[in-house]
């Protein structure tokens, strides 16, 4: 039973990313959208909490915030909306941490 965890708030604003991370299992993926993409920026305090997890980031929301893909922590996958849809299909269910 794999889950796509969708997080949409910056970890520097709300704690929903950290709450989500506590529930993530090996087969799960965490997708960062909207302001949550700030979590994947290299050098940020939130980045260390993501190590070892399967993290995807929505490219359009990165670009909207001026975060280049070269500024991301290692191992993060950048996806477009079509990739978002593919992730929803690939996992058994989704959980939006609102």
């Amino acid at each position: 039973m794999s889950i796509l965890h969708i997080v949409n708030k910056s970890p520097y604003e709300k704690s929903s990313l950290y709450t989500a991370v506590d529930f993530v299992k090996d087969s799960d993926v965490v997708l960062l959208i909207e302001d949550a993409v700030y979590a994947a920026a290299r050098g940020g305090k939130a980045a260390e909490k993501l190590s070892g997890l399967d993290i995807s980031v929505l490219g359009a929301d990165l670009a909207a915030r001026g975060i280049g893909e070269d500024k991301l922590i290692d191992g993060v996958s950048v996806v477009d909306y079509a990739g978002f849809v593919d992730l929803v299909k690939a996992k058994d269910s989704t959980q939006s941490w609102l």
Binding site: N8, D35, A82, F84, T94
Partner: protein, 130 residues
């Protein structure tokens, strides 16, 4: 894949209403089926046709109506949330003695059971909100 999408946020608030629309569009472009889009809480504000954004801004309501027309989508506004926020169709106007309606093309007002049915009938439920 059959999808139900839940939208909890109004338009022009943060980004969730935009994310939901972009996700829906991408899913349809990939050939997936959207069983229903259920608008809940402030999300019902996505369904008033009186919305008039500046001309150079996206029209958050009309683009849902257009997508619904193209793909025969079922866009449902939660009745209790709609009543609280003054989103009215013909039936609600008559029932509550209102002198006008404002529901946008392609939307309808119904109960929370529609969300549950969507979740049960679909392969995935994806929630967008604040």
């Amino acid at each position: 894949m059959k999808l139900t999408i839940q939208v909890n946020e109004g338009p022009y608030q943060h980004q969730a209403a935009d994310s939901a629309y972009n996700f829906a569009k991408a899913a349809l472009a990939k050939g997936h089926e959207i069983f229903r889009v259920f608008f809940y809480h402030d999300g019902v504000n996505n369904g008033t046709r009186l919305t008039t954004p500046p001309q150079d801004d996206r029209h958050a309501v009309d683009r849902w109506s257009e997508l619904a027309r193209e793909y025969e989508l079922d866009l449902v506004l939660c009745v209790a949330a709609a009543q609280r926020r003054g989103i009215v169709d013909d039936g609600e106007a008559e029932r509550n003695g209102k002198d006008a309606t404002n529901i946008a093309d392609g939307f309808r007002i119904s109960g929370l059971g529609q969300l549950i049915e969507g979740a049960v009938q679909s392969d995935r439920l994806v929630v967008f909100g604040d």
